[in-house]
Amino acid sequence: MEPFSYIRATAASQATQAAMDHDVRLIAGGTTLLDLMKLDVERPGTLVDINRIGLDGIEKMPNGTLRIGALVRNSALAHHPVVQSDYSVLSQALLAGASAQLRNMATTGGNLLQRTRCMYFRNTAMACNKRAPGSGCSAIEGDNRSLAILGTSKDCIATNPSDMNVALTALEAVITVEGSKGKRDISIADFYLLPGNTPHIETVLARGDLITYVTLPPPRPKAQHVYLKLRDRASYEFALSSAAIVAEVLDGKFSFIRVALGGVGTRPWRSHEAESALLHRSAEPESFRRASVDALREARPQSENAFKIELTKRCIAHALTLATRNA
């Protein structure tokens, strides 16, 4: 690990000011950042510790939304009674991720910015356009079994590894940011960028920005929530494919449906194609099959991950089956 200087912020404004320097990284849980610093993938000159600036509460707002502080730990969020009852897909996704220890450390804001697990990104000896722009992509010709099939480019096929982000995408969360441009709200649909030819730019955040809150829309009391995660091990493993479903069924037909996918996209993947195939259609296997096919129509497999297309179709269909079993 390269040497750095350490500053402990005591207010959000202090953090955003310090973060204007390009050589600064904000540290909260540290589970991604310190891991990458040990690998020399991240080499900040200054670390600003934001663990003591507050932003650690979960609050039901007067307009019915749920406002989650950026420093709420993943375990606290997963076990919060309102999240468990009204936003169960988020609780399920969080508890499907990492280990109990890591969930006690990782924060809501940090998880939004979790970096890819692509082994070439994590190895400074290898070419990687995300880590070293212009150096090439070792994954496209390499070991790409776990990497993305949706939203890829000729320069990057790295997968967004988060489970939480998939659930937040299905829930249409809004991310509040404070920084040099003042305070602004960003829909999660607009937060992540496709890699294109600039895979090193992953979000719309600007220098000096600090994520302060994540807000969930008012709950939908009749919605069924499912997060289904398929992986190589039963626990403590990243998704090969996952599906977050928020569904309402009225008279046997979908009256509301949100579908987001994990483990297959270069960003948390909202499937408007699957949603269009399901809305106002019968909640039955034939609809699930058609939605699965539509969701994967644009998939572009690499040498070793074509299996993810069929796996993801089955993941979506099974998640929809689970979400509608009591309808």
Binding site: L34, A98, N104
Partner: protein, 214 residues
């Protein structure tokens, strides 16, 4: 091992432990000074705290941090890069917490911070000024084991022992976390602690015994 597959019964008072054996070897090495051989009486006393020679060269860019570990405050001077794990082992001399992968993947470094289990390898010591940290040394001692330590002994919840302190710290934290009743629920919540020897069935049995008796 005897012909019938049993280990010989230990005879209290005359048992030679690995520790007392090694201490005899050490003493034998100095026999020319006519130092008496010291054989420890059973039960073996707790091992002496590990001490490290004071660093002779000053640490560049050192920062001072007060860590409250097992109820005791220690002010240490560390490079900001020092993980909590390294500070516990190298600066404070509490070597019960182990370094396995050093990347948050194996759980050997599990400690409690303010009552919650975390991977001490993926956090900086400097971030924990004033936090209440508990390590395996703070759970119990040889004469007064924590029930989880006693259960691991009873159920043989280890083989080589390297992951054991992390397993026990995780298991003790689990007792206060939401966890379903089944073995599968325990396995899920213990999945962040890897045991290369594969003592998992015995670890689960030890944890379930403590949960049932609680």
């Amino acid at each position: 091992m005897t012909a019938n597959g049993n280990f010989p019964k230990k005879e209290s008072g005359s048992r030679v432990t690995r520790r007392s054996f090694l201490s005899q070897i050490g003493a034998a090495g100095m026999v020319a000074t006519a130092a008496p051989l010291i054989v420890r009486a059973e039960p073996a006393a707790a091992p002496p705290p590990v001490t490290f020679p004071a660093t002779t060269e000053p640490i560049e860019n050192a920062m001072s941090v007060t860590l409250v570990v097992n109820g005791k405050s220690s002010k240490v001077s560390i490079d900001p890069r020092t993980t909590l794990l390294d500070a516990l082992r190298e600066s404070i001399g509490l070597t019960g917490t182990k370094k396995g992968c050093d990347h948050g993947q194996c759980g050997a470094c599990t400690v409690h911070v303010n009552g919650q289990r975390i991977n001490s390898c993926l956090t900086l010591a400097i971030m924990h000024e004033g936090d209440e940290i508990t390590t395996i040394e703070g759970l119990g001692d040889a004469a007064n084991l924590h029930p989880m330590q006693a259960a691991f002994l009873e159920h043989d919840g280890y083989q080589c022992g390297y992951c054991t302190s992390g397993q026990i710290m995780s298991a003790v934290a689990l007792l206060k976390e939401p966890c379903g009743p089944g073995d599968g629920d325990v396995k899920e919540l213990m999945s962040g602690n890897i045991c290369r020897c594969g003592a998992y069935p015995n670890i689960v049995a030890a944890i379930q015994q403590v949960r049932h008796r609680a």
